[in-house]
Symmetry: C2
Subunit: 441 residues, 2 copies
């Protein structure tokens, strides 16, 4: 099925044979991941957009810095103008961070007619109003999914899926470093030890101030509050308290009382306006946010029509952030006159594989005679098909027993052959009950 040709307003026609040019401001962990992932998925991207996408230039501070030998000639530049003035670059991803000179460069890109995708929460939470007005003035797009919670698509969901829902509250765990540290403190360690360990493992930066004081979470809550309630909230508006003065004694007391302690960012629509804030907060164990542990993030959106929608996932990481940047790049290119997403994008024709051909763990319940040797006979049939046993429970009553076996993951076809053999044994009565077990997650 050939994608239809749509009129294109400003950006290169995605159906043109020439690749669409992308520019990067920054080529660190996120920038190089954007380049690598776009290149690895080049064919799929071309099928979705109607033309391949290619990273043309990437701005770096120091051209001389060693970066491995995989970088193609002419990709890196230390001259911003080389990106701004390159007519073949349709969209720029800003993944360098910082407030200046990033802000000024972004304004120059808008003036040059280029849309920008950014991962820069501090810039947006401070200068969002100016940047959006400039993008609007020049008829280009500014997208920012990667600025909040990396691969969790909360910006798109708030801006697009819930654009006509009355969202009344956004609350979430929006900093993975502190959530990892709080999970460890809940297990008994104290703040200083947990911080040192998080730094050793790379979960916390050498200077952890932004994370542990709640400033990072406050910038994210400013952005989320703005788009949820259609009103300007800057980082200066968000009172924030971090975990740096939290005593593990209080985490232990909270646990006794049935709560987890989480660094919760909140934005609530109240009658008088908007309440925002970030603070370590006791979360009842039955609450959806209580079980979000380790470095994961979660954002809960409440509203009358949507009731409560929660998004959970990795809130940081190079590939995770790059994935959000790429989603936005595709969004900018795809909505430039084409009606994104178009068609159903089913360009593969993959075979269906029967479950028998894959590996599963199974739950098996048998009604058996309660006598010596029964388990041995059953186990040996399973062993013959190379199915090993994870756990066994048996409940006896009046000469018979319910024997429950959970297997380790094994070829499902082999396991079902073994079960058929077992069902035919004279020690079994009735059909075995077989259920799947989600063993590998």
């Amino acid at each position: 099925m050939t994608p239809k040709r749509y009129p294109t307003a400003r950006l290169p026609n995605p159906m043109a044979a020439d690749p669409i040019g992308i520019g990067l401001l920054g080529y660190g962990t996120v920038g190089s991941a954007v380049d690598r992932l776009l290149s690895a998925r080049r064919d799929d991207v071309a099928r979705v957009l109607g033309a391949p996408v290619e990273v043309r230039r990437a701005l770096v501070r120091d051209l001389g810095r060693p970066r491995g030998d995989a970088i193609r000639d002419g990709l890196l530049t230390d001259d911003f103008a080389a990106i701004r003035d390159d007519a073949s670059i349709a969209v720029v991803a800003e993944v360098m961070g910082g407030v200046e000179p990033t802000r000024g460069w972004m304004l120059e890109l808008f003036a040059a007619g280029k849309s920008v995708v950014t991962a820069n929460k501090q810039l947006l939470a401070r200068h969002g109003a100016e940047l959006f007005a400039a993008a609007e003035e020049h008829g280009v797009q500014l997208r920012f999914e990667a600025s909040v919670c990396a691969a969790i698509p909360v910006v798109k969901v708030l801006r697009e899926s819930m654009v006509a829902s009355e969202v009344t509250a956004v609350l979430g765990i929006v900093n993975g470093t502190t959530n990892y540290m709080l999970s460890a403190m809940a297990a008994g360690a104290d703040y200083a030890a947990v911080l040192a360990e998080a730094q050793r493992l790379g979960y916390a930066e050498a200077d952890p101030t932004e994370d542990v004081t709640g400033a990072d979470a406050a910038a994210k809550i400013a952005i989320l509050a703005s788009i949820a309630f259609h009103t300007r909230v800057t980082i200066a508006d968000v009172p924030h308290e971090g975990i740096d003065r939290l005593d593990s004694l209080d985490v232990a007391f909270a646990d006794d009382l049935g709560y987890s302690v989480k660094l919760i960012g909140q934005a609530r629509r109240v009658e008088q306006g908007v309440v925002v804030g970030v603070a370590p907060t006791l979360v009842p164990r039955a609450h959806g946010l209580s079980a979000v542990n380790g470095s994961f993030n979660a954002v809960m959106l409440r509203g009358d029509a949507i009731r409560e929608v929660t998004l959970v996932g990795p809130g940081a990481g190079g590939d995770e952030t790059a994935s959000a940047v790429i989603g936005d790049l595709m969004g900018v290119l795809g909505t430039s006159g084409t009606g994104f997403p178009r068609g159903d994008g089913l360009f593969r024709d993959l075979p269906l594989v029967a479950a028998d051909d894959v590996v599963s763990a199974l739950y098996l319940r048998l009604d058996v005679r309660d006598e010596p040797g029964v388990l041995a006979r059953i186990a040996s049939v399973l062993a013959d098909e190379r199915v090993s046993i994870d756990s066994v429970v048996q409940r006896a009553e009046g000469g018979r027993a319910q024997l429950v076996i959970v297997t380790h993951p094994a070829s499902e076809g082999a396991a079902r052959r073994a079960i058929a053999t077992i069902a035919g044994l004279d020690i079994c009565e009735g059909d075995p009950v077989v259920l799947r077990v989600l063993a590998d997650g």
Copy 2:
């Protein structure tokens, strides 16, 4: 800030003063909710799109059926051609369900140049290939967020946010009726009793076959597998087993072994192709899907770059489904040449409200003298500010005690005044520790 005028390809210019016309096929629970929500949010929608949106005509089977007196004149029609041929209708939401005549009507709408938004999973899971090809041929859009898990925006996230991520697995709880029933069976009730109760409460239909046999979940998994892996999967491809033959004895054994039983739909990318299926499955208690209880749905998306993103929320309901339909309507209108979402949509100017002015529950830890009357004095200061106590824990050691109090939700300003007074009492040493409690969720 006046929104900029963008060139528009096919649909009415959203900046035109005239409202954009919407048609509805069906005016039942979902259709009437779409009409009501669009009308309640008319101003916001106009600000986002640049023009108001108005439901022009709604197709119903029986014009004579009593529907209350709130329905405006001329809205309802029993003549499909009145919608198809109305040039003022830009987009149609199909919320009538069924396979025929819905399929034929949808094809006629595409041929008439109208984009369609649908909530109809059975139709898509059976005739998706034909419908998408027809929409493509006529240069219009077909969106279907509401067909899977109502207000949970999994279709948009898979199609747009993860368009360039290699998704390797989709697994989820995609049927709320059976999840409600399984939660009740986990509490000890048997299948027949739980079904009767679910029917009494309106969670299960009079004929629950679609839900309890897994057919409803299979249709959703067919749709999700198709968009996740860019390959056609129809409902006929999805082997499904429901909960109708599940014995509560097995739910109890699973519980003993550390598992919840859930009706899990899965689609996995394996080396040979795609594996899909729906079956009652044992889920380890630590797994993210294990804690999804009652009528909620959850979908977990896995991939290399995104790691694991989970979306949780209500998977059914009139307003919830209508919210998804409206998100798609806005998507169709917004991407028609305009670069949706445009600007930052911050058209409100809401005041920031200090936390002191709202109601919070607080956790309070005091280092106090371990002597009679201490708790009484502290409680009376709290009572003077009308702050009541939810729970108290005290741990004594060497003449002093750690006294922990969790309050009921109260004016945070009043509570903080009380705490300041308490801190000044001669029985207290050091500063009290004060943390927030997520009391109202």
